[in-house]
Amino acid sequence: MSYGVRERLFAPDNRTQVVGVSVAAVLLVVAPFVLGGFQTSLLAQTLIFAVFATAFNLLYGYTGLLSFGHAMFVAASGYTAAKVVQQLAPALGIADIFGGAELLVVWLLALVLGTVSAGVLAVFIGYLSVQLEEIYFAMITLSFSMAIFVIVNQDIIGSVLEAVGIGGGTFTNGSDGLTFRMGEVNLFGLDFRLVNIADPTAFYLLTLVVFGLAMYALYRIVNSPFGTTCQAIRENPERARALGIDTTYHSWMTFIISGAFSGMAGAMLVMLKTGILPADAFWTSSATPVVMTVIGGPYAFFGPLAGAFTYEYLRWFIRQFPLLEEFWEFSFGFLLLIVVLFFDNGVYGRVSRFRAWLGEAQSRYRDDGIAGVVALVQETIAGALRAAAEIVRGLAAALRARLGLA
């Protein structure tokens, strides 16, 4: 143990955070044994998207660069992972070397190679993209991701390989994408299916490990001098440059890290879905982490995580009602509108302010007992009503002005 771990852990500042993370960790570990099959895989998917959105937010919330093409990293990593499972692993003879643990090795190989391929893609595309800023950055990342969509959808790689005499013209298998099965693992006398929809516990636990490691790594990155530099670039690029920061280079590095972690999430997602389709590279897929981050709150580390949970579980909720499901984009858009209009820094901002409110309630309770809390509740409600009245009055005034009644 390094010096002062105990002191740091139990310092008053960190105590709530440590307790919060510990409780969350225990809940997440226990979850698959309590939840049913469907909820466990939904939770696994949510955790994967949380990593994806947090990685995306490294560029957006921390560096101020809105990428509208992050699905390309999921695609690069996903196709690589699918290729590893379908072809590379059998070709390497992993089954003969590792026996019952074969699939775990395949899983690890797919995860590592998927992450690397997304990182490599980010090196090239990042270099070109970070030369631009603001809307131009969003447009160029969108263009690259749509180019990749076309490449996999038209199976251009397959055609090129065929032209040079390799294969029969299929590589990404066009619009059908690549689908695979992940079968049985036999480890220390335990038999289980790695990706089993009926009982996804095994894959969930692997997801949890990846989630934990990725989130910890990202947390360390944003809280390092590197992360602070990112925020300096977001706040004022000219000033950051004046301070001697090579903003282009720094943005490039951030882009690569963001891409690699997105790829890590992508490899997990594709193995959970046991397949990848060109649609996973389409721009609508790039919108998912954007929406999650905006809902959750881009200016807090756990914002995208809050957004991923809100997004996935709200989507699940909507699916329960055929009428809402039929117009799910509308239902979703309406929610997004509320968040953008009324929540400062998304759901996470709301949660933070609620925590602050609880702190206030606690101190009132100490001072005045239960009466103090009641008074605070009254004040809060009155404040909310005043704010709502303000909005309605504002709207009414605007409407009157528009109609020429004023």
Binding site: Q86, F180, T274, E325
Partner: protein, 452 residues
């Protein structure tokens, strides 16, 4: 923030259909009390008093009319069965959902949350193939009623390659998936055979939607034509994008090649777009005949109104007037009764109607024969089952491929057809069926699997 949602999953826990391993035991033990109270038996259990059918169809976008017609047929069949006393005295319940943005999640949700005992659906070949591992892992019987790809019912991985283990495999057979509609293999054979008999070797051009299905239809048509010994000259092949608003560049390019016959594989909204734009470009006057695989649907003809050209040949998996038997009449009567006051949908079934109606009656027979809703028992009953109530005449699910030996129907477009809407329909219909060995012989050397 997830805590408040966690409680909802309880009723879908456990899995009665898979052997209980250590994990399963832990999961079951920790939810035991709640599960016992809820009387839940997980997958394959459903309730106790009702038999639940889950359906997943494309109910939005380009194929909305198509998926809706399938859902309608299934719902009418369920109603009919309930009127006649249900299955084993139990009421039948059906829930049909849209593919949405994640069809696999819908399939899982219906199996694990809704508690479906058996399932039907899927309006896309691509989604079918992508969902197969999910469906396999859920283990409950799933019958495809709307999908063309022959791969999903092709078990011969040695000859055609395993779809799940390579990028060029064509055998994707999945042990708990069945299909009641004729597939692309039947369809293209029917057209190739018709052309062989009526025209012989011609200059043929292709137009199809730009995705795997369009390419596949053209490949199979060429392979069957060659197998039938017809030496066509293939002069052009164009693929407008799926849901393309403008197909005129491709139509003109095909016209420039001066074909005698045009083979197309457009369906639903794309078939409507193609026919109206090809009419404007004068395609139907310049060529001798045009063929289409699964465009023959009341919603297409209704949308086209009086612009449908007469005398071209279109096919489908079902056409209401093509079969003369009491089961078809019962189907048509029940369908008309349900939808005659509904302005939004034609009151005759669409081209997936027959296969969807048949799938529900097939499940009824299998569940009654199995005497339970146990997934494995139903699956073994389904292998080789004959669907007596099939409106297309009795069909049998082939035990080794899980494909029904269903007929495909090809007819000539005409305004004299007996249809309850303003528009064209099919007359002079012919049906085609094909056995696996015949198909294998015809496709020999093409590398394409029969899938039947």
């Amino acid at each position: 923030m997830s805590d408040e949602h966690k409680g909802h999953g309880v009723d879908s826990s456990g899995s009665a259909s898979t052997p209980l391993d250590r994990r399963g035991f832990l999961a079951a033990a920790s939810t035991g009390a709640t599960a016992a109270v809820a009387g839940c038996s997980g997958i394959g259990g459903g309730g106790g008093d009702t038999i639940k059918i889950g359906g997943v169809y494309l109910l939005s976008g380009v194929a909305q009319a198509l998926g809706t017609a399938s859902a309608n047929a299934a719902e009418v069949a369920v109603e009919q069965i309930n009127e006649e006393g249900g299955i084993m005295g139990q009421d039948v319940e059906i829930e049909v959902r849209d593919h949405g943005d994640n069809p696999q999640a819908q399939v899982r949700s219906l199996a694990q949350e809704y508690g479906a005992d058996v399932m039907i659906g899927i309006t896309s070949s691509g989604v079918t193939l992508a969902s197969a591992p999910t469906i396999e892992s859920l283990g409950i019987p799933f019958t495809i009623t709307d999908t063309g790809t022959p791969f999903i019912t092709e078990p011969d991985t040695e000859t055609y390659g395993n779809y799940y283990e390579s990028d060029s495999g064509k055998a994707a057979f999945t042990s708990n998936m069945f299909r009641t509609n004729a597939n692309t293999s039947h369809m293209t054979y029917g057209i190739a055979k018709f052309v062989q008999e009526e025209y012989g070797a011609m200059r043929v051009a292709n137009l199809g939607p730009n995705y795997a299905y369009g390419q596949q239809c053209w490949d199979y048509f060429k392979a069957y034509s060659e197998g039938l010994g017809v030496d066509h000259e293939y002069v052009a092949s164009e693929y407008p994008e799926l849901e393309a608003g403008d197909m005129t560049p491709q139509i003109n390019s095909v016209l420039d090649a001066d074909p005698d016959l045009v083979f197309t594989s457009f369906w639903a909204g794309d078939a409507t777009t193609f026919i109206s734009q090809a009419t404007e470009q004068g395609l139907f006057e310049q060529v001798e005949d045009v063929f289409d695989t699964i465009g023959a649907d009341p919603t297409v003809y209704k949308a086209l109104g009086d612009t449908t050209p007469e005398g071209i040949h279109m096919s489908g998996w079902y056409w209401p007037t093509a079969y003369d038997n009491e089961h078809n009449q019962a189907f048509l009567d029940a369908y008309r009764e349900e939808y005659q006051d509904d302005d939004t949908t034609p009151n005759i079934p669409g081209f997936t109607g027959g296969s969807t109606w048949a799938s529900i009656f097939m499940y009824k027979k299998a569940i009654e024969a199995a005497g339970s809703t146990n997934a494995d028992d139903i699956i073994s009953e389904l292998e080789g089952i004959t669907i007596d109530d099939d409106p297309r005449g009795p069909t049998t699910i082939q035990p080794d491929t899980h494909q029904a030996n269903a007929p495909t129907v090809l007819g000539e477009t005409s305004f004299d057809a007996d249809v309850p809407y303003d528009g064209a329909g099919l007359v002079d219909t012919r049906t085609y069926t094909l056995t696996r060995s015949e198909s294998k012989e015809l496709l020999d050397g093409s590398g394409l699997g029969p899938g039947i």
